[in-house]
C-alpha cells in the first residue's frame, strides 16, 4: 500500500505537467515548441541510435570519472587538512578563494594548458565538484565528538584504524551531504565543458541541434539531461541509505525522544 502511494506521489506532478503541456500545444504550430507526442518520438529516434554510443556514452564516462576523482580527492585531502590544525589554518583562506572561482571561466585557461581532450573536460568537472566534498570533509573531521576521540585514544587506536573506524565514519554524514551537492555541479560542468571545442558529447549535441534548427532534438537532449540527473540522485539515495543507515536510525531515535 505504501509503495503504491509513494509511486503515486512520484508520478502525480509529472503527469499533471504533461497534461498541461499536451492541452496547451493542441493545434499548436510553433516551430520552437514541440508537442509531447513529437518529443517522445524524437527522443527515442535521437538517443537510441548511434548517438547513444557517440555522445551519451563519452559524456557519462567523463561524468563518472569526474565524480569518482572528486570524491577521492575531496575525501583524501579533506581528511588530511581536517586532521591538522596548522594545515587547516594555512590552506583554508586560499581554498575559499579557489572555490569562489566559477569553474566555467577556467575552461579557456585549461584548454590552453592541457588541450581540448577528455582530460580538459574531466578537469573542469573535478575543479567544480571537488569543493563541496573537500570543505564538508574538513568540517566533518573537525567537528569530531571529543568523547569519542578520547575513547579511541584510551584504547590506543593506531592511525589506520582511527581513520577507518573513527574519523571517516564520524565525518560521513557531512561527506555525503557534500557529495550530494557535487553531483549536480558535476552534471552542469559536464554539459558546459562539452560546449567548447568539442566533437561529441551531450552538451555538444544539444548545441549542434540548436544551431541546425533541429528543435525537437534539442528539447529531447534537455529531457535526457534531466533524466540523467534523476537517475544520479536515485543511485545516490540508495548508496546513502546503505552507508548512513546508522545515522538515520540514530536521528529518528533522537527525534522521537
Amino acid at each position: 500500500m505504501t509503495y503504491i502511494r509513494t509511486f503515486l506521489n512520484i508520478i502525480a506532478l509529472p503527469l499533471i505537467l504533461l497534461a498541461i503541456w499536451f492541452v496547451s500545444t493542441l493545434g499548436e504550430t510553433s516551430f520552437f515548441v514541440p508537442t509531447p507526442q513529437a518529443l517522445v518520438e524524437t527522443f527515442f529516434e535521437t538517443w537510441t541510435s548511434e548517438r547513444f554510443v557517440s555522445d551519451v556514452f563519452p559524456s557519462l564516462g567523463r561524468l563518472m570519472i569526474g565524480i569518482v576523482l572528486s570524491i577521492l580527492i575531496g575525501i583524501g585531502a579533506g581528511l588530511l587538512i581536517g586532521s591538522f590544525r596548522w594545515l587547516r589554518a594555512l590552506l583554508e583562506p586560499t581554498l575559499e578563494f579557489f572555490r569562489a572561482i566559477p569553474p566555467p571561466v577556467l575552461i579557456p585557461v585549461i584548454m590552453l594548458l592541457i588541450g581540448i581532450g577528455d582530460e580538459m573536460k574531466v578537469s573542469v568537472i573535478v575543479l567544480g565538484a571537488v569543493w563541496p566534498i573537500l570543505l564538508n570533509t574538513i568540517e566533518g573531521v573537525r567537528s569530531m565528538d571529543e568523547v569519542l576521540a578520547d575513547t579511541s585514544r584510551t584504547y590506543g587506536m593506531n592511525k589506520i584504524n582511527s581513520v577507518r573506524y573513527l574519523i571517516l565514519p564520524s565525518a560521513m554524514p557531512q561527506i555525503m551531504a557534500g557529495i550530494r551537492q557535487s553531483l549536480s555541479i558535476a552534471l552542469i560542468l559536464m554539459v558546459i565543458s562539452e560546449m567548447f571545442a568539442s566533437t561529441e558529447g551531450l552538451g555538444f549535441a544539444i548545441v549542434q541541434f540548436q544551431r541546425s534548427f533541429a528543435i525537437p532534438e534539442m528539447w529531447s537532449g534537455i529531457v535526457l539531461l534531466g533524466l540523467i540527473g534523476v537517475i544520479l540522485s536515485f543511485i545516490f539515495q540508495l548508496a546513502e541509505r546503505w552507508i548512513l543507515g546508522w545515522y538515520h536510525g540514530l536521528r529518528e531515535i533522537e527525534q522521537a525522544a
Binding site: D145, D150, T151, R153, T154, Y155, G156, S170, W246, I253
Partner: protein, 304 residues
C-alpha cells in the same frame, strides 16, 4: 614509602566506628597504606590557561592505588574530578607533578588502562554494532578473529548483554549502553579501570544493578578500579576506600577506608549501621569541602 604505611588501621575512622571530627590527624595528600602501589599520583597540579586568566582546577593531589583495589573518588561538583581523571588516563598532561603506572611515568594513554566515560551515548561508536564496539580495541591490538569472538562473547555475557550483539548501541536503553561500554573495557583486560561518573546519567534502579555489576566484575577480574562519582552513597557502597576531594582548587580532603563486608547487597549493606556511619562521615566531609574548609588549614590550626 614512609613509616606511616606500617600501621594498617584507618587513620581517620577507627575500627570501633567512632568518628573523628576534622582535626590535625587528617593526612594531607597522604595515601592509604597500600600493599603494592600500582597507580601513583604525585603532587599533581593542573592549571588551565584561558583568555580570562588561569584557572587552577587541581592544586596538589597525591595518592596511590594499590593493585586490585576498588577506590572511589568523591567530591563536590566542580571539584576537578574529571580533570584529575583525564590526567591519570594520560589524555591530558598535568601542569606539575606526575602520574606513574608500575613506576613508569604516564605521558599518553597507557596500554593497560581502560576508561569508562559518563557520556555513554558519545563514547560508543554509533556506526558499529554492540559486538563490533566491544571488538574494536581487540582488533586494533591485532588479536586474531577466533580469539576475539570468544573474548567479546564472554564480555557481553559478563554484563548480561549476550542477547543483543547485533543491535546498534543507540537502539538500547541508557543503562544497557553503559553496559556495552563496560563490556568493551572488560574485554580489553586492563590492569586499571577508570570510571568517570559512569552512572550519573542513568535512572536509580538501573544504577543499583550497574553498581553490583561493577563490584562483580572487579572481584572476578582482580582489576584495580578508580571510580569517580559525586554520589556519596554510591562511593561508600562500591568502594573499599573513599578518597574525598576538596572543593576547587582540589586537594585530598580525606582518605577513608570502607570497612564494610566484601559481600555487598543493595538492601542489607545500605541498611547496615556501619554504612550509615560511613555515609554520614563522608557526607559531613563533603559539606565541609563545599563550605570551603581546606585540610591544610586544619593542619595549620592543629600545629598552632
Amino acid at each position: 614509602m614512609t613509616s606511616e604505611h606500617s600501621q594498617p588501621t584507618n587513620p581517620v575512622i577507627s575500627q570501633s566506628g567512632v568518628q573523628d571530627t576534622p582535626d590535625g590527624r587528617i593526612p594531607v595528600g597522604k595515601t592509604m597504606p597500600g600493599e603494592e602501589p600500582m597507580l601513583s599520583v604525585q603532587n599533581l597540579k593542573k592549571v588551565y590557561h584561558t583568555d580570562g586568566g588561569d584557572i587552577e582546577a587541581v592544586r596538589n593531589l597525591t595518592f596511590d592505588l594499590p593493585k586490585g583495589q576498588l577506590a572511589c573518588l568523591v567530591g563536590p561538583s566542580g571539584s576537578g574530578k574529571t580533570t584529575l581523571l583525564k590526567c591519570i588516563s594520560g589524555l591530558m598532561a598535568p601542569t606539575e607533578g606526575e602520574v606513574t603506572l608500575h613506576g613508569e611515568k604516564v605521558t599518553g594513554p597507557p596500554k593497560s588502562m581502560a576508561v569508562v566515560f559518563q557520556e555513554y551515548g558519545r563514547s560508543l561508536f554509533p556506526w558499529l554494532r554492540v559486538a563490533e564496539n566491544v571488538e574494536l580495541p581487540l582488533k586494533n591490538q591485532g588479536m586474531d578473529k577466533t580469539a576475539r569472538r570468544e573474548v567479546v562473547a564472554e564480555a557481553l555475557e559478563a554484563v548480561g548483554l549476550s542477547h543483543v550483539p547485533k543491535s546498534y548501541p543507540w537502539q538500547l536503553s541508557g543503562g544497557m549502553q553503559q553496559r556495552v561500554a563496560i563490556a568493551r573495557a572488560v574485554a580489553y583486560k586492563p590492569e586499571v579501570l577508570l570510571m568517570d561518573e559512569p552512572f550519573a546519567a542513568v535512572d536509580a534502579q538501573t544504577r543499583a544493578d550497574l553498581e553490583d555489576l561493577v563490584r562483580g566484575i572487579w572481584k572476578k577480574l582482580g582489576v584495580s578500579v578508580l571510580f569517580v562519582t559525586h554520589d556519596i552513597d554510591e562511593s561508600v557502597y562500591l568502594g573499599e576506600r573513599v578518597i574525598i576531594l576538596s572543593s576547587s582548587p582540589t586537594v585530598i580532603q580525606e582518605d577513608v577506608l570502607v570497612d564494610l563486608p566484601a559481600e555487598r547487597d543493595q538492601l542489607e549493606t545500605r541498611s547496615s549501621q556501619r554504612f550509615a556511619e560511613l555515609r554520614h562521615h563522608v557526607y559531613e566531609q563533603i559539606q565541609l569541602a563545599k563550605k570551603g574548609f581546606r585540610p591544610e588549614d586544619a593542619v595549620a590550626n592543629a600545629n598552632a
